[in-house]
């Protein structure tokens, strides 16, 4: 549960007024503030860590979603929201000047739907867990430690973990160096899921958008009074886990008892971190599952509860529901599903266990959980965006209005999203074209204009770069003034290209009056960084023809250069 004040809890329990605010960050870097003035109706978020109401397993992960309608938004082009992300906060009136704000989360925009021409748009988002679907292509040979794996996941899926490897190891209850395996899984999702299994918990994207591992809460953090509920639907049965079991790929298993007098066995199987080739596998397996059995002491009821709502509740929290069952003072529910709406009831789901009492079906294939079988899933590829540098202003003839560079790991189809608002300075035509590595891509139609006309040109231009580094340039053609421009490259597995630091020996230079002049380059990098000093003298001049007959596409020019000949 997000830490809140006592005044906040009192305010929630008495039905205080709620406020909402947030920020929408576009791929181009533009930040739009959101408030009651441009958030329409009831934004809704959904999070869960089990596949259905009667299935409870370790290591379950589901992509959290957002559904929000905005208005008063000026949309620049059809692809305006590609690569955008949105964060929201809810405020509760606690009687002070300012409400108490609770962050709700961070979502990548996955779809946008214009509802009318007046800037009303419905956006759907998926949280950062969605990015874990990125594939891992790595044939590293040798033992992989937890820290290596987490670093690989962070770099591949463009996510950040909330916890350090040491903190994750502490949750698992073993020393970090003993958590290791011999190969990467097919994708980041599977890596994270298997680590979550080891702690008898789950992974989710937290309020700041980071991937967080969590064990289930064993003691209640909140009491839901009967007067604050719209409805309560408890399922039959009180669940308690008596035993935790691990089954390997050969069907051999080991179990560890908990302190709970329940009758359920909860387990998982085929986890690549739990490896043993020896005969004493039972001892080995028990070592892994004993910490889980020791910490899993919960008894809970399954069911759903439509609650007045508390945005501070988190997945995995335990709550007490008062007067849940006639004759009982209260029952405990484990929050495994949270559907929250602004100024609307919050549906809390507490999953039960399957009828057999044995849920050791969570195989390494991930058929039930790894691929995310829920109907609420948003299945989109992990797209990255690189904003190009833009140069609004007056132009006549051909003018570079945006440019930048990016790197891509393997050949793939990408797009350059462009939105340009420009005013014509003379009668004629206005248009633009996109150049990938200085080669013009699909031609864009030009627009005939009269002097003073303002036109908005927008397009998603497909490009197909090969593996490696590339430059993109957007050229406008005509006579006018650019008042607003956004230009973004988006595609899978692309990244911002950074200049290569090359040895001084690849540069030829002369030194005169204590300043160096670069005169030639013989390196292989297509994006070299010119050093600050050469031969002990600061670089001041880049000579004419320095890069003639080289493969260089971009150059990083250091501070201090005064002349480029």
């Amino acid at each position: 549960m997000y830490p809140v004040s006592q005044a906040y809890i009192t305010a929630i329990d008495t039905g205080a007024q709620q406020y909402i605010r947030g920020t929408l960050t576009l791929a181009s870097g533009t930040v739009i503030s959101l408030s009651d003035d441009n958030i329409f109706g009831t934004p809704r978020t959904d999070q869960r860590c089990t596949s259905s109401d009667d299935t409870f397993m370790f290591g379950e992960m589901y992509v959290g979603t957002l559904d929000i309608t905005l208005y008063n938004i000026t949309i620049l082009g059809d692809s305006y929201f590609h690569g955008a992300q949105i964060s929201l906060e809810v405020g509760i009136d606690v009687g002070e000047t300012d409400p108490e704000w609770v962050p709700l989360g961070l979502w990548d925009i996955t779809s946008s739907e214009k509802l009318n021409a007046q800037g009303q748009v419905r956006l759907k988002g998926a949280d950062r867990l969605n990015r874990l679907k990125a594939a891992i292509n790595d044939d590293t040979v040798g033992v992989l430690r937890l820290a290596t794996i987490m670093e690989k996941v962070e770099k591949t899926a463009f996510v950040t973990f909330e916890q350090t490897p040491a903190e994750v190891a502490a949750l698992i209850g073993r020393p970090a160096q003993s958590i290791q395996c011999v190969e990467f899984s097919a994708n980041c999702w599977e890596e994270v899921r298997q680590i979550a299994q080891l702690m008898g918990g789950f992974a989710f994207a937290n309020r700041s958008g980071k991937i967080e591992f969590r064990k289930f809460g064993m003691s209640p953090v909140r009491t839901v009074e009967a007067d604050r509920r719209f409805s309560l639907k408890p399922s039959s049965g009180l669940y308690g886990v008596a035993q935790v079991r691990y089954t390997d790929s050969k069907g051999r298993f080991a179990s560890a008892d908990t302190d709970v007098s329940g009758n359920a066995i909860l387990g998982f199987s085929c986890n690549k971190y739990i490896y043993t080739g020896s005969e004493n596998y039972i001892e080995q397996y028990t070592e892994w599952i004993e910490p889980i059995a020791e910490s899993f002491t919960a008894c809970w009821h399954s069911g759903t509860c439509d609650y007045y709502g508390d945005p501070a509740l988190d997945l995995g929290d335990m709550i007490t529901v008062e007067d849940g069952i006639a004759g009982q003072s209260g029952m405990q529910m484990l929050v495994t599903g949270l559907s929250w709406g602004f100024r609307a009831p919050q549906t809390i789901t507490s999953a039960g266990l399957s009828d057999t009492g044995d849920s050791t079906s969570s195989g390494s294939s991930g058929s039930s959980s790894g691929s995310g079988g829920s109907s609420s899933q948003v299945a989109v590829p992990t797209m990255n965006t690189i904003a190009l540098d833009t140069f609004p202003g007056d132009f006549e003839g051909r003018y570079t209005s945006a440019e930048g560079a990016f790197g891509i790991r393997q050949a793939a189809d990408c797009f350059v999203n462009i939105g340009i608002v420009m005013t014509a300075e003379a009668d004629g035509t206005l248009g633009f074209r996109v150049l990938l590595d200085e080669i013009a891509q699909v031609l864009q139609p030009v627009q005939t204009v009269n002097e003073g006309d303002t036109v908005t040109l927008s397009a998603a231009v497909p490009i197909s770069p090969d593996e490696g580094k590339h430059t993109v340039r957007v050229e406008v053609i005509g006579n006018g003034t650019i008042t607003e421009i956004s230009a973004v490259v988006f595609g899978q597995d692309i990244s911002t290209e950074s200049p290569d630091i090359v040895p001084d020996s690849v540069w030829t230079y002369t030194i005169a009056d204590g300043a160096a002049t670069v005169t030639g380059y013989s390196g292989e990098s297509t994006y070299p960084r010119i050093p600050d000093t050469l031969g002990g003298a600061p670089v001041r001049i880049i000579g004419a023809g320095t890069f003639t007959d080289t493969a260089v596409r971009n150059v990083y020019v250091p501070e201090g250069v005064t002349t480029i000949e």
């Binding site: 039905g15 007024q17 509920r229 719209f230 409805s231 309560l232 709406g341 609307a344």
Partner: protein, 113 residues
């Protein structure tokens, strides 16, 4: 609004209401109301004028079209407050005939935007 006519009623009727979200409803268990407040103290003022057809037409032209918004200053709890309001719920009726000229009554309300 018009110097020619004064409201017939002695003063005006001011009502305040709170706005609630569509999701507001009663608990299926206890029957208690669970309300999500959107806005508190939204004011409505009811006014009534009487005059000849011409005079009433003049007032009516001022408060039409309904999309027009006014800054209205009124007395509330002993002090004057200003709110932006739009006219609504216009009703006309022939009430009395004075010297053979029918006089009409126009009532309408000003609702806070």
């Amino acid at each position: 609004m018009s110097s020619k006519l004064q409201p017939v009623k002695d003063g005006y009727r001011l009502s305040k209401s709170d706005l609630y979200s569509d999701a507001t409803g009663r608990s299926a268990e206890t029957g208690k109301l669970l309300s999500y407040i959107i806005r508190k103290d939204v004011c409505t003022i009811e006014l009534e004028y009487r005059g000849t057809a011409e005079q009433i037409a003049e007032i009516e032209s001022i408060i039409a079209p309904v999309t027009r918004q006014y800054s209205v200053e009124f007395l509330d709890n002993g002090s004057y407050i200003t709110r932006t309001m739009y006219p609504s719920d216009r009703q006309k009726s022939t009430s009395v005939i004075i010297d053979g000229v029918p006089h009409m009554t126009l009532s309408f309300s000003l609702v806070e935007v």
